[in-house]
């Protein structure tokens, strides 16, 4: 048993993981339908994988954070927020310096993964910041 989380936090996370799995099924099915029915490739393989993983992950992180089940019993929102901010700045910095653009040949480019990862971590940073402020005000 994971001692980092209490029983309600584990219950919340199990439930959200199940929701996330359903979202993955739907996204994979939709992606397959778009690619086979319309013969359309909307992204480079790595960007496509990132989007398909990021959507359910963000769903889980958002709901888990606001139900107080993401960071375990120690509630390290402030520290996590700084760590995620550093990662976000790194990704966004790399894209700003070396990225070739979001779209190439009418589809999400390989470089877009870096930008999307930056946005992904910036979003998680903001969520932790909001939660940190909310918890301090309780």
């Amino acid at each position: 048993m994971n001692k980092k989380y209490d029983e309600r936090q584990r219950w919340v996370n199990y439930r959200l993981s199940h929701h996330a799995l359903m979202i993955v099924f739907v996204l994979l099915l939709m992606n397959g339908l778009v690619r086979s029915s319309f013969d359309m490739t909307w992204a480079e393989p790595m960007s496509e994988a990132f989007v398909l993983i990021a959507v359910p992950t963000l769903y889980c992180v958002t709901r888990s954070l606001f139900q107080g089940a993401y960071v375990g019993r120690r509630e390290t929102y402030g520290r996590n927020s700084i760590a995620f901010a550093v990662i976000a700045v790194l990704f966004l910095g790399v894209f700003a310096l070396a990225g070739d653009g979001l779209i190439a040949d009418g589809k999400l480019s390989q470089d877009s993964t870096t930008l999307l990862a930056g946005i992904f971590f910036a979003y998680i940073t903001a969520l932790h910041g909001i939660k940190f402020i909310r918890e301090r005000s309780v």
Partner: protein, 71 residues
Amino acid sequence: MVMGKNLRMKSARVKKDMTQAELARQVGVTRQTINAIESGAYNPTINLCIDICRALDVTLDDLFWKEVDDE
């Protein structure tokens, strides 16, 4: 499963002059978990019920037994 509010637990905690955070620390859960139990959003396991009763010096019946009229 959403249940009714556990006002008996809240009143036992207030009687002991404890905050949700203090009770949470004593039984080893987060403040949100105590809040969820009191507001009826979470149904705790028997082990957590026992820990809460010990921390508040009450019995399981005092806090968690439901009379037919309560339902």
